[in-house]
Symmetry: C2
Subunit: 342 residues, 2 copies
């Protein structure tokens, strides 16, 4: 039982027409009050505001937007998996920027499915979002070319697009990995295992390339201890580690291409009580609690999300500027704890 002041129809939302009728003014005056236009006589404005409160009026922004044109105050963010902290951090940072522009974020996960990625982009375009941030998974983003030509701000993150030109914000995967492998080499390691997952992924290809650069510099045969796994389950990474350690010439150091691989490696090494030197791409909050020392490549994920969102709003202001390509720097950081008292 609602005790609302009875409007014309309890289920229906009141419109400006209802407010105008209740306040005894014209529709347009209600619109003026709702938009804070100053040239409304104080007593009328007062009556309108009272009527609004009485009826519980809320402007329909869908309609307002349709009439007044160009902005829905919404930007679309398409990522691979929102449950992954890497992407959720990006989303949070982008949302923080959007908040400054009174804009909301529609976030959708493509789940590594190129068809879905495309569907999501087109859906968001039909919703007339003001801009798009896309972490691409497919190797063809040409479907966005027409949108971009029409002025839709589009920013690609983590991987560059194929088949269209757009702003990008990438992580310096190659340099980060190269520096990390150099560190291992400087420590005297010569047999360095490298574990990646699918090389369909731009970022993983770049990391592998960075590792190869460092190894070649040192005159070490590339690919000697290279293992690729085909899932993102840490357990499979553990198996790969086990196979390497059981080989006739086991590596003395291991580079894990991402933090899920690291997770599997740590577990496997702990199981074996093996002290092989560990290093990995990706820093994460709990890394400092790992039971063994690990050197990781860190980078500021928030910066990535922030830059991407700022690029969207920048392009919204100046649509026809040349594409910008930002690279988020990486750094090395030592994590983990000594496993046993020194």
């Amino acid at each position: 039982m609602t005790d609302q002041a009875a409007g014309p129809d309890p289920g229906r939302r009141p419109t400006m027409v209802d407010v105008a009728r209740a306040a005894g003014v014209s529709l347009k005056t209600v619109s003026r009050v709702a938009n804070g236009v100053p040239t409304v006589r104080a007593d009328l404005a007062e009556r309108v505001r009272d009527a609004m409160a009485e009826l519980g009026f809320q402007r329909n922004n869908v309609a307002a937007n349709l009439r007044s044109g160009r902005t829905t105050a919404t930007i679309g963010l398409i990522i691979l998996d929102l449950a992954n902290p890497f992407y959720s951090t990006i989303a949070a940072a982008a949302a923080a920027v959007a908040e400054r522009f009174d804009t909301q974020l529609i976030t959708a996960s493509s789940g590594w499915d190129a068809v879905r990625e495309r569907e999501l982009v087109l859906d968001l375009c039909e919703r007339r979002v003001d801009g798009l941030i896309v972490a691409p998974t497919g190797d063809d983003q040409s479907y966005l070319g027409a949108e971009i030509a029409r002025g839709m701000p589009a920013v690609f993150i983590d991987s560059p697009p194929s088949g269209c030109l757009a702003d990008t914000v990438l992580i310096d995967n190659r340099t980060g990995t190269r520096d990390l492998i150099r560190r291992l080499l400087a420590e005297g390691h010569r047999e360095i295992g490298v574990i990646t997952d699918s090389l369909n992924d731009f970022t993983m290809r770049e990391r592998l390339a960075g590792a190869a650069e460092a190894l070649e510099e040192a005159g070490i045969e590339t690919g000697r201890h290279f293992r690729r796994i085909y899932s993102d389950r840490p357990h499979d990474a553990g198996d790969a580690v086990g196979a390497m350690l059981d080989s006739s010439e086991p590596p003395t150091a291991l580079f894990c291409g991402n933090n899920r691989i690291l997770l599997g490696a740590v577990e496997e090494l702990a199981r074996r009580r093996d002290r092989t030197r560990l290093a990995a791409f990706d820093d994460f909050e709990f890394a400092k609690l790992l039971p063994r020392p690990v050197t990781v490549v860190g980078y500021d994920t928030r910066t990535l999300g922030r830059l991407a969102a700022e690029l969207v709003f920048q392009r919204l202001r100046r649509p026809r500027s040349a594409p910008a390509n930002y690279v988020v720097p990486t750094y090395l950081v030592d994590r983990g704890m000594a496993a046993d008292p020194a």
Copy 2:
């Protein structure tokens, strides 16, 4: 330089009127084709589709929605912090349900700010989202009463609302904590430290209440080793742990109210090489890598998000059913590794 087939105005998006003109049919026929109405002659439909492709037509769903009424195929999710894995997992699970209904999620973080929470809710209502999922932070959600009365599906997660009646999906904080403390008691611990953060938080109050229940059952003075910290920085939790351990009667077991507190406690204990028994609310992926054994209260965050979203769509179908109150069960799980070889 675009090589698009020139429309009337390169910047403007083509509308159904443009398509109709290009295809030599009426606007309404274009609408019919766009909506897959079967009673369109095949050759006309073909011409319309060709014209659409030619012009790169994309329906404006904002306008379609305004005319045809009730659904924006969007639901709003208001959480405390998207960067927190707890909430991003919920968001991902809710989005997965939404996907089944061809609906997108607008996700916004209130950042523990009750004013912003309210602003966000009202903003989303003005955007005419089809439903809301809210993790409340303030202690007054009465502003949503009018919306709910008008038929807006609203589901509260993690904490119940105050001042209005709505569906809820909560975690069984109390039972989970009680069972965990019982476990510690069964192990023989009598001096059990309890560390929480702000008790303004419903969940933390419930966890504390669960701990108190278990202690009272065992005839142990409640609050003897209770410490409250006032930030979510793990470092402060570490300080609290240090203070307890340095007291004249240090606890032999510690319960951490959430995983951030646990993080601080683990660091502090590792620093001191202290073997105090650890337990905590919240499981998380890397918990298994903690350098010491920890028993945690786990629960399925995905279930929480899934149930919340399903409730929204359920209520969308049957608006006037009684509020549902779901409780996600908890379970105990042992995590972490032995710190040193046995």
